[in-house]
């Protein structure tokens, strides 16, 4: 799977929640690898993902009106259908929204330092 053949776009309600694993990784090192792995994620129900052709583990761009980040997609039934779930973190606070548009995209996930750079500029 090299390029997303169709530009799949999906608008979803965003729910944030406190994830114990993410909190534990923040207690370790907020600039570490594990933090990014546990935080820069978006969770969608497998049925919702199947309808739009999204695959587990792929990179997704999450957009609001004027902000966007790249995170990794996890498929899990813990997300209600037609909703996206993201751990409460600097990423969700940066987006500051209750609806998002998600699109498949290649590339690296956004790192916390990237968001800090944005916050300091604006």
């Amino acid at each position: 799977m090299r390029f997303a053949r169709f530009l799949k776009r999906l608008e979803l309600k965003l729910l944030t929640y406190r994830d114990g694993f993410q909190v534990a990784s923040a207690r370790k090192d907020k600039f570490g690898e594990e933090f990014v792995e546990r935080t820069a994620i978006i969770i969608i129900h497998p049925n919702t993902a199947k309808t739009f052709g999204f695959k587990d583990g792929q990179i997704i761009r999450v957009k609001t009106k004027d902000r966007s980040i790249r995170v990794r997609l996890t498929l899990d039934e813990i997300a209600p259908e037609n909703c996206a779930l993201m751990p409460k973190s600097i990423y969700t606070n940066y987006l500051n929204t209750s609806t998002v548009v998600v699109e498949a995209e290649e590339g690296e996930v956004t790192k916390p330092q990237d968001i800090l750079n944005e916050l300091v500029i604006t």
């Binding site: 729910l15 929640y17 406190r18 994830d19 114990g20 694993f21 909190v23 534990a24 990784s25 923040a26 207690r27 370790k28 090192d29 907020k30 600039f31 570490g32 813990i78 997300a79 209600p80 909703c83 779930l85 973190s89 600097i90 606070n93 940066y94 500051n96 916390p112 330092q113 800090l116 916050l119 300091v120």
Partner: protein, 350 residues
């Protein structure tokens, strides 16, 4: 030792070559204590501790409006000094959380139950909009699953679990036998109020209210104030930040000006043990002075960073558990400098 990972303040944790009994959050705090430690910094340059404290004092002296933010992870002793400091320089205080439930609890308007009492006596246990499994992992194993004095037959017979949430969280998945999951909507609070007074409501609410009658000890685990709390039974406040309850209690005793970081026009924010950039969307970036044991997002853009100790692990003191029980910390390690020392020095310098 007493684990300071969350406000469960579990006192059965053992630290030797391995960390025993602490959940993942507590174990991560303990095992990774030497990872990403903060270093003294002024304007982005590394310096020594004394210079950093001096710079902080100077910056506070030069500021018009100051806010002291955080304090949820500091001991009661440190919180007290911070509030004295706030009074001295007419600074605002904000712990970043809501005040409604804490006020009602400290006013005595709502009855509170201790975790031990819940374990020993509680029948109906309602988790209201609170994902215990992720926020305070050991809470359920210490209360719902544990056997108690009057609850010897275990959770399947001696307890009734109610989980209320907007989605089927991990905690909701545990509502199996003798349990019920109720999906939250805006009518639910009113329906509970009505049903408890004998009126009609949806089937699930009536079922819960029916179960309430089987016992005189029923509990709601919640972070917000619920108007039917006293008629239901007891409340266990579930604010996961380790010593947030301490903040409210000390604030009541010392007095202070509450302000909200997002709402105020502030020159300088003194952050103690917390990370506002992690929690809040900020419109403007004021001067930050950060006192924290570890590197945080806020410390990366702060003007002054003062490294501190991890409470309960490297320095002692007292903290309040989520149910307001006082716990005297038993740190297995010792650090040279901690929140109390730093705040005392700042207070003296002003």
């Amino acid at each position: 030792m007493i684990c300071t990972g969350c406000s469960c303040l579990c006192d059965d944790v053992v630290v030797d070559e391995k960390v025993r009994h602490a959940c993942r959050i507590g174990a991560s705090l303990i095992l990774n204590r030497n990872v990403a430690r903060a270093e003294p910094m002024v304007d982005g340059r590394k310096t020594d501790l004394d210079s950093a404290i001096e710079s902080a004092i100077e910056l506070l002296k030069d500021s018009n409006k100051v806010l002291i933010y955080g304090l949820n992870y500091s001991t009661l002793e440190a919180q007290r000094i911070a509030m004295k400091l706030a009074k001295k320089i007419d600074a605002y205080l904000d712990n970043g959380l809501r005040y409604d439930l804490a006020e009602k609890l400290l006013d005595g308007e709502v009855r509170i139950a201790t975790l031990e009492d819940v374990r020993d006596y509680a029948y109906v246990m309602m988790f209201w909009m609170f994902d215990a499994h992720n926020e305070m992992p050991r809470l359920m194993s210490r209360t719902y699953y544990a056997r108690g004095k009057k609850r010897q037959r275990g959770y399947e017979e001696d307890r009734f679990l109610v989980v209320v949430d907007v989605r089927r969280s991990h905690t909701a998945m545990l509502a199996k036998k003798n349990a019920i999951f109720i999906e939250y909507d805006d009518e639910l609070i009113k329906e509970f109020e009505t049903a408890i007074r004998g009126g009609l409501a949806r089937r699930e609410v009536l079922k819960v209210v029916g179960e309430l009658k089987k016992s005189d000890f029923n509990v709601i685990f919640t972070r917000e104030f619920l108007p039917f709390a006293n008629e239901f039974g007891y409340i266990v406040p579930t604010i996961p930040q380790t010593n947030a309850m301490g903040f409210y209690k000390v604030l009541r005793e010392e007095g202070g000006k509450i302000g909200r970081l997002e709402e105020l026009d502030i020159d300088t924010i003194l952050v103690v043990g917390d990370d506002p950039l992690n929690d809040l969307p900020l419109n403007a970036i004021p001067n930050f002075i950060v006192i924290d044991p570890k590197v945080s997002f806020t410390s990366k853009i702060a003007r002054v960073v003062i490294p501190s100790a991890i409470s309960g692990l490297e320095c002692g003191g007292t903290m309040l558990r989520c149910d307001l029980v006082e716990m005297k910390l038993k740190p297995p390690f010792k650090s040279e400098i901690d929140d109390v020392e730093i705040l005392k020095r700042i207070l003296r310098g002003l």
